[in-house]
């Protein structure tokens, strides 16, 4: 069983992650995590201090749990640039802060680190309005680069194909066959998937109404920094290789895999090698695709959540893992789950951290649409002998 522990400042609750219902008395390790959450309230997505929160929390866990594998997610550069007007945050200063905190973690923990920049951010050129179709369109999230088209007419398809800001329109069959999608992905896949050109995103049912100032670029390569010359990651060619490399490295060294969101090859401040982040003609942009693909070493159609996935179809009461958004399993086949030693994760990307990490202990911010509700931990009670 995985225990979810939520701290909303001055108040905590613990629950069974799978059912969402309250659990009984805390196990010793959960008591330690409870105290940890109390010591490290999340400062918020836009305060520029999320990076210090990640490092402080990670070093705290290190002291009393001594994990050998850590997964860390630093997101300040992403949130502050995407959701604030240019000039609101000094990117260079913020980048120094983020990488300064990573350096502090490295120095104080003695871990070898593998740091991956999750990509450049670029100005938004336009949003593609997908309303007014004979069928209908759903484009879920902050800057959706995929739109799901349902029951389109021929005229709808002509309209979408004729828009120069759409670089691809794939039928379910073509997409699923091309990328070897699992059956449930196929079952849930919209009739068509439209794919936006770099610098454009779709606007339809489910798109956030927050003002967006920059968006993820469609990079084909990401910057990868490796602290150890012995690391197997030095041979990684694509993001799919990282899982294997990290698990290999863990045989000989305590290792942290670190995601830095909102920074790519254009600004990455450390020496790096480029690794491929594409799937055919598709580039991974920030979000679920990155987290799961890197942590599992499998492209996203191997998981049952297609772009424009209609999470509201799960609004029945029986959905497992109700605190995990639309994910029906957490940490499955991920690095953390497959590493038999002690592991922990800390991340500022809310649900994605616990959905993808698979580590024994996971701490993440409980922020939704920039609203800071507190912090959440997920503890693998079975693995920790509770």
């Amino acid at each position: 069983m995985k225990t979810g522990m939520i701290d909303v400042i001055d108040w905590q609750i613990s629950l069974n992650m799978k059912t969402g219902r309250q659990t009984g008395p805390l196990q010793p390790i959960e008591k330690a995590v409870s105290a940890l959450l109390n010591r490290h309230p999340y400062p918020g997505d836009l305060q520029g201090s999320g990076c210090a929160w990640v490092t402080d929390t990670a070093l705290d866990i290190l002291q009393w749990y001594q994990p050998e594998f850590m997964f860390l997610g630093y997101c300040d550069l992403f949130f502050s640039t995407v959701f604030q007007p240019p000039g609101a945050a000094d990117r260079k200063a913020l980048s120094d802060q983020v990488f300064g905190q990573i350096e502090r973690f490295k120095k104080e923990s003695g871990f070898e680190v593998i740091i991956l920049g999750l990509g450049n951010l670029r100005p938004v050129e336009s949003t593609v309005d997908m309303n007014g179709l004979d069928g209908w369109c759903e484009a879920v999230g902050m800057t959706p680069q995929y739109a799901g088209i349902f029951s389109p007419s021929e005229a709808d398809l002509r309209r979408i194909r004729g828009d120069s800001r759409t670089c691809g329109l794939f039928s379910r069959d073509v997409f699923c066959k091309t990328f070897d999608a699992v059956p449930l992905f196929r079952e849930r896949c919209p009739d068509y998937l439209a794919y936006a050109e770099d610098g454009h995103y779709f606007r339809a049912l489910g798109t956030t109404s927050r003002p967006i100032f920059r968006m993820p670029a469609k990079d084909r390569f990401l910057p990868l920094y490796i602290s150890s010359s012995e690391s197997g990651a030095a041979s990684a060619e694509t993001i799919l290789d990282l899982k294997r490399c990290v698990l290999e490295d863990l045989k000989s060294a305590r290792t942290a895999l670190i995601f830095t969101e909102g920074i790519g090859t254009e600004e990455f401040p450390l020496p790096f090698r480029k690794i491929d982040c594409t799937m055919g003609s598709h580039s991974y942009a920030h979000g679920e695709g990155h987290y799961h693909t890197i942590m599992t070493g499998e492209h996203f159609p191997r998981r049952p959540y297609p772009p424009a996935y209609r999470a509201y179809l799960d609004d029945h009461g029986g959905k497992p893992y109700p605190f995990s958004g639309y994910f029906e399993t957490i940490g499955e086949r991920s690095m953390g789950a497959e590493f038999s030693g002690k592991s922990a994760a800390v991340g500022a990307r809310s649900i994605l951290t616990h959905a993808a990490a698979g580590t024994d202990i996971i701490v993440e911010c409980f922020a939704r649409a920039l609203y800071n509700h507190g912090v959440m931990a997920v503890v693998d009670r079975e693995k920790l002998g509770g």
Binding site: D10, I13, G206, S209, H373
Partner: protein, 330 residues
């Protein structure tokens, strides 16, 4: 030429092509009209408990429409990015009523809810949608601050089926300091008028040190109109001009609410993850009737509906519930 806009209580005096406080109505051809009819800032599908409506079509799905602009200026506004900015910048979707209804039907919604900003800034648009929705068997609901004249309430209640009115304070001074206007009597009148023919729930954001001491006053008012009205209390996460304020203490507020629940039995306390105050229990026999989970944010999600109709399966007590028909207050 100038004319008063009477959609809200401010009664702004508007000249041709100008607009008032909300920025959404203008004077055109001698008439007060919407500047952005049928335009929205967001369209989304969610469970109705998230709006929040806890006693309306439980466990159903609703199409949530968001506009822009507001008639109040709340210090703590959670949606200032659409409510307190220039509406023209936010209203990026044009959705004629038929299109909105199509979205609702195709995504399996039973209703349409205006829930992101104040609906009084878009009364003609809401009426058109509500009328069209009704033709297709859908219900329309609104979430409002209630700061509107009688005439606006009467226009809206002709076509909407359910409403959640926010009562933000118990006294004029607190109302003014939090929202910029004294809404005490006006909002109370609005609640009473809606209650006559529309299924009504009410909400109160709790700002500790500002309005928490007035909760008994608000409870007294609700009890006087109808103690069966569901009352949602939110632990406010201060935003906007109150971003640096402390969050309300859950323990302290909970102790206070235990007393108030004796007077307003369908009282809920949310906007904090994991709240244990979001279930519906029978006030007479204590049986769990609707189980919900709070994932952060207002409202909650229904995980188990044990209430097949409007009657407690344990003791037979009637539970106030909109199931598609509401005959008004008893």
């Amino acid at each position: 030429m100038k004319k008063n806009c009477n959609y809200c209580e401010r009664g702004c005096l508007i000249s041709e092509e100008d607009s008032g406080f909300c920025g959404v109505y203008t004077l055109s051809g001698g008439k007060i009209r919407e500047k952005y009819p049928d335009q929205y800032s967001s369209i989304g599908t969610s469970h109705i408990e998230g709006v929040p409506f806890f006693h309306v079509l439980p466990a159903s799905r609703t199409l949530i429409l968001g506009g822009a602009g507001c008639t109040m200026d709340c210090e703590y506004c959670s949606n200032a990015y659409v409510a307190r900015t220039s509406p023209g910048e936010s209203l990026r979707y044009c959705l004629p009523p038929e299109e909105a209804v199509k979205y609702a039907l195709r995504t399996g919604c039973s209703s349409i809810a205006f829930a992101i900003n104040e609906p009084a800034v878009a009364v003609p648009t809401i009426r058109k949608i509500a009328v069209t929705a009704k033709e297709y068997g859908l219900y329309t609901g609104i979430l409002t601050n209630g700061f509107m004249p009688e005439e606006t309430v009467k226009i809206l209640r002709r076509d909407i089926a359910f409403v959640n009115v926010s009562i933000k304070a118990g006294t004029g001074d607190t109302y003014r300091s939090l929202t910029g206007v004294d809404g005490t009597e006006i909002v109370r009148r609005t609640v009473g008028l809606f209650r006559e023919s529309v299924f009504t729930e009410v909400s109160t954001p709790i700002i500790q040190g500002r309005n928490d001491i007035e909760l008994p006053i608000i409870a007294g008012f609700i009890e006087k109109i109808d103690p069966e009205i569901p009352w949602h209390l939110f632990r406010l996460l201060p935003e906007y001009r109150m971003a640096d304020e402390m969050r309300p203490d859950i323990g302290e507020i909970s102790r206070q609410l235990l007393e108030l629940k004796k007077h307003v039995p369908f009282l809920y306390f949310g906007n904090f993850v994991g709240s244990e105050w979001v279930n519906t229990e029978c006030p007479s026999c204590g049986r769990l009737l609707i189980e919900r989970l709070n994932f952060g944010g207002c409202g909650a999600k229904c995980v188990q509906n044990l209430l097949p109709g409007s009657v407690c399966t344990g003791c037979g007590r009637t539970i106030p519930l909109f199931t598609g028909k509401w005959d008004g207050a008893a």
